[in-house]
């Protein structure tokens, strides 16, 4: 009994234990489940928290209904308007977006999210200009994708987007500046350049852009107007139709920017803007109808001068132009100003140069066989008027050379025309007569009978290499200087006759001066020696002293030295013409030249080499080839000259039994491998000479070139 009781007790205990175990298991399972649920719940909450606090805006759309079902807080922050689950497409309609390229509004079905829902499209970083709930403008970058269920059906879609307003603005500004910068490098003329600038600015920055340039103290003219699209055609046409604006008009904001040189942004404060900027009621009505919301105006300033103004206008939905846009607008205006300024400078220089080149000055001096010559013309600093100064070098038969320097009274077109006429006539008479006095007499008679009787001073001299003399005659012109190295400078005696054009019959005296090879003749017009506050002699003395000191060096250098001594780097009060001439000493067997390592010195060096090669019996085609090879060697020496101490190069040549050896020496290091360009030079040298070798040591570089100049008869 007891055992049974015990056994019952045991089984009770066991079953109780079992029940307890089951109970416990059940409880544990429940606990597990509860924990899992709570974990899931917390994960969901975490996810939601993450979703809510994601630094990008996220919106989820239900594919079945098309409704926007969920959005995080960033959505509202970016859009500055509350997200409303309005169902169907109404959700999209509460957002305002525009295509950046053409500012066309986004239709509800065009939004990335709508496209992902409808077609499964994956949209990668689409840039959308937006107008936010508070009316401000910005730009977002949106990416979206569809969400599929296990069967591959689209059940939802999600879009994520970030506010990229500042970045986009900076990028667009940079792009705009880069494009305007490229325009300045292009070869468009100035009007085209300005027009292209206005076209670049709209539509990225504004709807209408116009450029004004100042014509005189009172008026500024519109030279280009562009509109963002055809809706602005009427306004563009209206602006182009109007005459220049009055720069003195106190009420005109464009005039004010031109007057003050300070840019301005004019926003729409209570509809006031139309009144502020419209030129008349008719234009005001047009501006109001188009919905102008702001303008920005910047001055076109180049080198401290205001040349005009750049006007931008924003209309309708576009973000209003404001103070912070002004730096960009100013920068674009600065580029437009640069284009204008370049064109002005170019035109001015061009006009001067054209006049000079066309009728007055030789394009370049003719190559001389036994002499070298170079010339300068410096226009006066006074205005754009070209003076009547000229120089000329005439190759005459039998090794003679005619040298001309002259100065027509007066300035401008009439003086230019007279100069051209006298220059041509003198050249013709120079070929007819060997006597400078006779040439001047004929020139005078010509001007009296056939010309406009303009007055001019002229000096004409003929150098004869055969007997080493200079014959000269002067029609009222200052006498030239002769500079003998080691002996100083002296004025050559030529009695000043009357200027050309003064009297019907004029007689001129002729002087004959010995001019040994190596002597430099300096011919000039009085602009070089004349200063208002001192006698002419003082100026001549100054130039003579500078010439004596410069002695027998490079003629280009001599010209610079004389101009600097006379003018001190300033623009002269009157035009200056300067002609220097030097008969060469030629030793047919040897050539020696030491010149500054200066590109400007190469031309006369080549000329001297030509003369020497000809004298040494080299045929014409060989002369040019040797000169080219030597030019390359010299160019290399100049390119690798380091500083003033190195800045000289020496050319030595010898001809012996029909063979030429030419050595170009400098004190720098040869740079054969510096660039392929130098390789080009070496290629030329090697091809044109029989042998080229390059020696480099501590003293510098020597390029040694050899060539037979007298071809042996074929065997």
């Amino acid at each position: 009994m007891a055992r049974r009781r015990i056994s019952n007790r045991v089984s009770e205990l066991i079953s109780a234990r079992r029940e307890a175990e089951v109970e416990e298991r059940r409880g544990r399972a429940q606990l597990e489940q509860r924990r899992a649920l709570s974990e899931a719940e917390s994960a969901r909450r975490d996810l939601e928290e993450v979703f809510r606090h994601l630094p990008v805006g996220v919106i989820i759309a239900d594919a079945r209904t098309g409704r926007l079902v969920s959005a995080n807080a960033e959505v509202d922050r970016i859009w500055r308007q509350p997200f409303v689950d309005e169902g169907a497409t109404a959700g999209y309609a509460s957002y305002r977006g525009f295509h950046p390229e053409d500012r066309r509004p986004y239709a509800p079905e065009e939004w990335p999210l709508a496209r992902s829902v409808a077609t499964g499209e994956i949209v990668d970083r689409e840039v959308i200009d937006v107008v936010r709930g508070d009316g401000t403008h910005g730009t977002i970058e949106a990416s979206s994708c569809p969400i599929h269920d296990d069967d591959g059906e689209i059940v939802a879609a999600v879009v994520a987007f970030a506010d990229v307003t500042e970045r986009t603005r900076a990028e667009r500004a940079l792009r705009l500046l880069a494009e305007t910068g490229e325009l300045l490098d292009s070869s468009l003329d100035v009007e085209q350049t300005i027009e292209r600038i206005t076209q670049l600015v709209v539509p990225p920055l504004a709807d209408v852009c116009s450029v004004y340039i100042v014509e005189d103290e009172r008026t500024a003219r519109r030279i280009a107007v562009s509109g963002a699209d055809e809706s602005f055609d009427e306004l563009v046409a209206d602006m182009l139709r109007r005459g220049p604006i009055d720069v003195t008009d106190e009420r005109n904001p464009i005039a004010e920017v031109i007057r003050t040189g300070r840019s301005a942004a004019i926003g729409d404060m209570g509809g006031q803007i139309v009144e502020d900027i419209a030129e008349d009621p008719e234009q005001a009505a047009l501006l109001a109808r188009l919905g102008v919301n702001s303008t920005a105006i910047a001055p076109l300033v180049a080198r401290g001068t205001t040349l005009g103004a750049l006007l931008l206008g924003a209309f309708g939905e576009r973000r209003a132009l404001e103070e912070r846009d002004l730096p960009l607008v100013e920068e674009i205006a600065r580029r437009a100003a640069l284009a204008l300024d370049n064109a002005r400078l170019y035109n001015q220089e061009h006009r001067n140069a054209e006049l000079l080149q066309r009728s007055l000055l030789p394009e370049r001096l003719p190559p001389l066989d036994a002499a070298e010559a170079t010339a300068r013309y410096v226009a006066s600093g006074a205005g754009e008027q070209v003076g009547g100064d000229w120089y000329d070098v005439i190759r005459l038969p039998d090794g003679r050379t005619g040298l001309v320097i002259g100065d027509v009274a007066g300035h401008g077109l009439r003086a230019s025309a007279a100069m051209g006429r006298l220059r041509s006539a003198l050249r013709a008479f120079a070929l007819e007569s060997e006597s400078p006095a006779v040439v001047l007499e004929r020139l005078n008679a010509f001007e009296r009978r056939l010309g406009d009787r303009d007055m001019a001073t002229v000096l004409y001299a003929v150098h004869d290499a055969a007997d080493g003399t200079l014959r000269l005659a002067s029609a009222g012109h200052p006498a030239p200087l002769a500079v003998v190295p080691g002996e100083g400078a002296r004025q050559l005696g030529a009695a000043r006759g009357l200027p050309i054009g003064v009297r019907g019959r004029a007689r001129f005296e002729e002087a004959v001066e010995p001019v040994a090879p190596g002597t430099t003749i300096v011919l000039f017009t009085d602009g070089l020696v004349e200063r208002r506050d001192e006698p002419l002699d003082v100026g001549i003395e100054r130039v003579a002293a500078a010439a004596a000191e410069a002695g027998g060096g490079d003629l280009e250098r001599l010209c610079e030295t004389l101009l600097h001594a006379a003018l001190g780097g300033a623009r002269p009060a009157d035009d200056v013409a300067l002609l220097v001439f030097r008969p060469l000493e030629i030793d047919a067997a040897r050539f020696d030249a030491a010149v500054a390592a200066d590109p400007e010195a190469l031309s006369s060096l080549r000329q001297r080499l030509r003369l020497w090669l000809r004298a040494g019996g080299a045929p014409a085609d060989a002369v040019e080839e040797i000169v080219t090879a030597c030019g390359e060697a010299c160019a290399n020496a100049i390119e690798h000259a380091y500083g003033p101490a190195d800045a000289a190069l020496a050319v030595h040549g010898e001809i012996e039994s029909g063979s030429l050896e030419l050595v170009v020496a400098d004190r720098g290091a040869w740079r054969a491998t510096r660039s392929e360009d130098r390789g080009l030079g070496l290629t030329i040298m090697r091809a044109l000479m029989d042998d080229v070798s390059i020696d480099v040591d501590d003293d510098g570089t020597r390029v040694r070139m050899q060539r037979r100049i007298v071809r042996e008869p074929a065997a």
Binding site: S187, R364, A375, R376, Y377, E639
Partner: protein, 120 residues
């Protein structure tokens, strides 16, 4: 103003014709190159570069011809050279390979015919 070389520009139909006379070396090559590059309107199909009046041309000049060609071809424009037969300039252009990569004609008319530009 010292003039080693001179550049004249003319528009002939759809091509620009630039005539260079004088000497081209390292002292003026860059300026001439700039002037030439700036002489071609964006609307032109080609630049005809007449070098028959050039009495001296070295590697500096060759460089501007190369860079001009490069610059023009980037803009879809062609460069045609006009060079006198047997001139030193022709020799230099041959030696440096310019003549091998660029069309060279004997007259401006032939060059214009090549680029299909009409008469003035």
């Amino acid at each position: 103003v010292r003039q080693l070389a001179r550049v004249e520009i003319a528009n002939r139909g759809e091509a620009a014709v630039a005539t260079v006379t004088g000497e081209v070396d390292m002292s003026n090559a860059e300026a001439i190159g700039g002037r030439l590059a700036g002489s071609v309107p964006n609307t032109a199909r080609a630049l005809v570069l007449d070098l028959r009046g050039v009495t001296y041309l070295d590697s500096a000049g060759v460089r501007i011809v190369f860079s001009l060609d490069e610059r023009l071809s980037r803009r879809g424009q062609r460069l045609v050279l006009v060079v006198a037969e047997g001139a030193n300039v022709e020799r230099v252009l041959d030696l440096t390979g310019v003549a091998a990569v660029m069309p060279v004609e004997r007259t401006v008319e032939a060059a214009l015919a090549r680029v299909g530009g009409g008469p003035a």
